[in-house]
Assembly symmetry: C2
Homo-oligomer: 254 residues x 2
């Protein structure tokens, strides 16, 4: 509980907030994620227009705000917190297809139904657009479309990496890959050689992301600890003494 706690004061507000709890949108130009996500592609004039189409939403931890198969009315841009995306089988088996953080875009649907569900891992801020409005905006500002295409290409690359992980990596490699991925999410290109991460998600979420069981994830963390590849601090705080070593294991260079 250290990193994201800046807004903790605000958290003490009652939790009754239900899905679709929303406040009228503030100002996109002053938005904290200006420079990330869809918005980074936009000039001031375009942002002005975007403002009017967007609604800021706060979702408390552990709330599903996109239900698999429901009507795809909206697009979202994550402006705070971490979201998990998932698909499920009828008997409850679940695959988390990604954890997405600040700046990421969410809701590209091919039909008029969402092909996946989305749930907040921790308290999350979203910027919501109606699909129809966004489509209108795209007509007007092709730069939005370009930005969306770039985002989609990125996600596609990530998805391919994840397929390699799920199809061909061992549990040891999967967990190492996962931790390395979290470092990339946190630091971008410039990952320090020694680093720390705070994992907001549970072991069960990690298991559902890596195609493993909770027990295997737990055992694998223990193994990595025994091997001094990670230090598990209090709570969810993970210390990584050698990022390069971790990365090597995650990419199959044992």
């Amino acid at each position: 509980m250290s990193t994201v706690s800046l807004s903790d004061q605000a958290v003490h507000r009652p939790r009754r907030l239900v899905l679709a709890g929303m406040e009228g949108c503030t100002n996109c130009a002053a938005c904290e994620v200006r420079g990330h996500g869809v918005c980074s592609a936009l000039a001031d004039k375009e942002l002005e227009r975007l403002s009017r189409a967007a609604v800021k939403v706060t979702v408390p931890a552990g709330h599903m705000f996109i239900e698999e198969g429901s009507d795809a009315h909206d697009f979202f841009n994550v402006t705070g917190g971490t979201v998990k995306l998932f698909k499920s089988l009828p008997d409850g088996r679940r695959q988390i297809t990604g954890f997405v953080g600040v700046g990421h875009f969410l809701g590209l649907a091919v039909s008029d139904h969402y092909a996946f569900g989305a749930e907040s891992v921790e308290q999350v801020q979203l910027c919501r657009f109606s699909r129809t409005k966004l489509e209108t905006l795209m007509e007007e500002f092709p730069s939005i479309e370009r930005r969306l295409l770039a985002e989609a290409a990125n996600e596609l690359v990530a998805a391919q990496d994840q397929m390699l992980l799920l199809g061909r990596k061992t549990a040891h490699e999967r967990v190492a890959s996962f931790l390395y991925g979290r470092l990339v999410e946190k630091y971008g290109e410039h990952i320090p050689p020694v680093a720390d991460i705070l994992l907001p998600m549970t072991r069960a979420d990690i298991a559902d992301f890596l195609g493993l069981t909770v027990e295997t994830v737990s055992r694998t963390f223990s193994r990595l600890r025994r091997e001094h590849l990670i230090g598990v601090g209090a709570g969810q705080d993970i210390h990584i003494p050698s990022v390069s070593r971790l990365e090597a294991i995650g990419s199959g260079d044992g």
Copy 2:
């Protein structure tokens, strides 16, 4: 040997054709895949321009034409045959991330290197564009961009399905899903209740796609045959007496 054999006469042409064997582009307006893929988004005038940027390439079976990590100079549009896309680990473990057929687009790279390799499963026709030229064309014709975004969204949905498969389905379900997917590729929305498919890929390819071994794939085909869920004809020809039953198994409704 029944379904795709229409073009079998043409196949007897010599096989010596090497990679990058190309003919000057013909006419996109008369192209057999006009109406599919990127091209379907284009008006005649746009197609005319596209023609000049495109080069038709024929690749014989089993040739790698995109090497993982190589410089991403080109985009491709598949105009004939089936291509496999894959990622590998240093020790040779491989994950096929998709089989793509006629009309599909290929080469969306996020950096200037391809994040995946591509190899022809059977003899393949490609329409090749230089990335820089395509970028210029996108500036001029936003409809191309729109079409690309739609394609990317589609692939993303497919990728998520595949993650669910790789992370959470049994071998039985995986093979059933795979066969159903082939039906979707062949028939689109309108799959007949009883159908046939011809699989151009080997068991090893199927295994690398499903995150299994060749032996497990083979055993699972045998099991499906025993269960009368498929009929394996001569060669690669698969008969599916109940598409709905197969689909149910593939989606986890045993």
